[in-house]
């Protein structure tokens, strides 16, 4: 091979490398999914899921044992009452997997969907309702077998379905909230909210509260009728949280709101830190706000507010905070993205309990 040919091939290879490197499409990437029970926290952090001991932050198990480029996890795992940890893969083969939450051993693994798994499934009457990016809601028994044809819902499904015990509310990126009758296995009503809906509805009395990219929260009834509850300055990414008759929510500007849904009045609004993408967490008498990045330090920050919106404490976690924090016992656990630690746990007074960084 002469020198010129070698140079030419090298240049082409370099070009290929440049395009591949900057494409960002070769592997999916997003923020982590986080769940916890009384003993362990479970974090889906890309190529691996880790179970972490809540007592000291040590690793209990990881799945798979060795990272596989075709299996990627970002969805929030679901713990079932019959002892399973359910999660779908955002990787190439779109597997839906059941693990033993104690040992991390695979119970079953099924590949039936055409799209990636971003959403957490729902369990209702021993049936798994698993929404996929391909626009279908798959129904499985607890052993992972499809019990019927999937229910076709338009648009990509990125959020967990919720139920009032009778109907299922499922939001879609195509701007619709779909109301599904699990007995009829069909969409019985749908409401167009005018903007993409990346988060789950929140079930209330006779309907559900839904936030969207239309910078609003709407109340959707079982027959698909909807009325605006509030309009804010920017997109709302997280689900609203209902506590009694008070609704809490935050928008992308970083404002946190408290609203009385019975009287329709806004109680207060504060801006404790930077933009908020995650849902708020209510635990005990505090409201936990995962701020994506502090306006000064640009680091993800966890803020605890009291019920009047006053800041009780604020901790810079590092990286960026997109994942909704979880509470277990006296601990508040956060999963920062692109940070040194994959998990950080605080007690309710804001004292750091432990951190978790996976061993290589």
């Amino acid at each position: 091979m002469n020198t010129k040919r070698l140079i030419l091939i090298s240049l082409i290879a370099l070009g290929a490398l440049a395009l591949s490197a900057c494409s960002g499409s070769a592997t999916a990437n997003s923020w982590y999914g986080l769940a916890a029970d009384a003993d362990r926290a479970y974090v889906s952090a890309g190529s691996l899921i880790y179970a972490v001991d809540l007592k000291n932050g040590s690793e209990v198990w990881r799945y798979p044992a060795k990272a596989d480029a075709n299996i990627i996890f970002f969805a929030k795992p679901l713990l079932t009452t019959d002892g399973q940890l359910l999660i779908g893969s955002a990787g190439k083969n779109h597997e839906f997997i059941s693990l033993d939450p104690v040992t991390g051993k695979e119970k079953w693994n099924k590949a039936f969907a055409k799209g990636t798994w971003v959403a957490t499934p729902l369990i209702l009457n021993n049936t798994v309702y698993a929404p996929n990016d391909d626009g279908f809601l798959y129904t499985l028994d607890m052993a992972g077998n499809q019990v019927a044809d999937p229910i076709e819902v338009s648009g990509a499904l990125w959020s967990a379905p919720v139920t009032d015990g009778t109907l299922i509310y499922l939001s879609s990126l195509d701007h619709h909230v779909n109301i599904i009758d699990p007995v009829k296995r069909s969409v019985v009503a749908a409401a167009d909210l005018g903007g993409a809906i990346p988060s789950s509805p929140t079930v209330g009395t006779d309907g559900a509260y839904v936030s969207s990219f239309a910078s609003a929260i709407q109340f959707v009834t079982p027959n698909g009728e909807h009325k605006p509850i509030t309009k804010v300055e920017n997109q709302i990414w997280g689900s609203p949280v209902l506590d009694g008759t008070t609704l809490y929510y935050a928008d992308l500007t970083g404002k946190v709101f408290s609203q009385d849904v019975a009287g329709g009045k806004q109680n207060w609004s504060v801006q404790p830190n930077g933009p908020v993408v995650a849902s708020l967490l209510i635990a005990g008498d505090q409201i936990y706000v995962a701020s994506e990045a502090d306006p000064t330090s640009a680091l993800g920050t966890l803020v605890a507010l009291d019920r009047d919106g006053k800041t009780v404490w604020s901790k810079e976690v590092g990286g960026k905070l997109y994942t909704t924090p979880v509470a277990s016992g006296d601990l508040i656990i956060v999963a920062p993205y692109q940070a040194t630690n994959t998990l950080v746990a605080y007690d309710t007074q804001g004292k750091q309990a432990w951190t978790f960084t996976p061993a290589k």
Partner: protein, 263 residues
């Protein structure tokens, strides 16, 4: 800098076209095609100067003066370089005229690819980035999410067509073929068997289709739609100048040309 100067304007232009088209099914594919046409029109003078520069360099290879100095100073590289510069000056040729436009276009191609990938936002993090990329005057809530369906393809995934149980990468084949046709058409006939520029062009016409075909095979099909549209426009642009070398597409076409010229 790259983000503000390349990615954001390109993504917004792409989304603006998509919004104008009514953001329904198949419209994002059409938006990519129209977007490619706009980019091609903007870079038309660059392409024209590239073609012109390549032609001038090619013609120089057949120039008697040029061939003589190659022979005369074959063993004295320094003197050869000086003489070559003299000829360039005399004939008013810029030796970089053919490669400079290519270098300028390379960031455009990378930027375009990143814009398409960002616009299709396959995961929540991508969508957050996209929502922050869109300029305030655009209809953000109407545009997001993009409908990635185009004909039989999902523009966010690599394309293949199932035939008899086999996944055939039709778009990758079309990308490779159109790239081959374009590079062959723009390759002028050379009567000089030692013409290094012709040798390089020959190699490019083999490696470029393979490389772009590999991209179409492995990356989002939206970029394959861009490659095919861009290649088709390149062929049309070159054919419009009346200098397209159609005989190059046939086996031995270039050799036949050389013999004809020698007679």
């Amino acid at each position: 800098m790259w983000e503000q100067l390349i990615i954001q304007p390109m993504t917004n232009l792409l989304l603006f076209i998509y919004d104008l088209l009514g953001h329904g099914p198949h419209m994002f594919g059409l938006a990519i095609i129209l977007f490619t046409i706009v980019i091609r029109l903007i870079t038309w003078p660059l392409n024209a100067s590239q073609v012109k520069g390549a032609q001038a360099m090619q013609e120089l290879q057949n120039d008697k003066d040029w061939q003589e100095i190659q022979k005369k100073y074959a063993k004295d590289k320094e003197k050869l370089a000086q003489e070559q510069m003299r000829v360039y000056k005399e004939k008013g040729i810029n030796p970089f005229a053919s490669c400079l436009p290519t270098l300028i276009q390379f960031p455009i191609i990378i930027g375009l690819y990143q814009s398409i990938i960002r616009a299709l936002s396959a995961m929540p993090l991508d969508m957050l980035k996209l929502s922050r990329t869109i300029y305030p005057f655009q209809n953000v809530q109407g545009i997001i999410p993009l409908n990635s369906k185009f004909l039989w393809m999902n523009l966010g995934s690599p394309e293949s067509v199932q035939i008899l149980g086999y996944a055939l990468p039709t778009l990758a084949v079309v990308v490779a073929l159109t790239t081959y046709v374009q590079s062959k058409l723009t390759m002028p006939a050379s009567s000089n068997p030692n013409d290094q520029s012709a040798q390089m062009s020959g190699m490019m016409s083999i490696y470029m289709p393979l490389m772009l075909g590999w991209f179409a095979l492995n990356f989002a099909s939206g970029i394959a739609v861009y490659f095919i549209t861009s290649n088709a426009l390149g062929i049309i642009q070159y054919a419009a100048t009346g200098r397209a070398n159609w005989s190059n597409l046939l086996p031995g076409g270039n050799k036949k040309n050389q013999i004809t010229k020698k007679k």
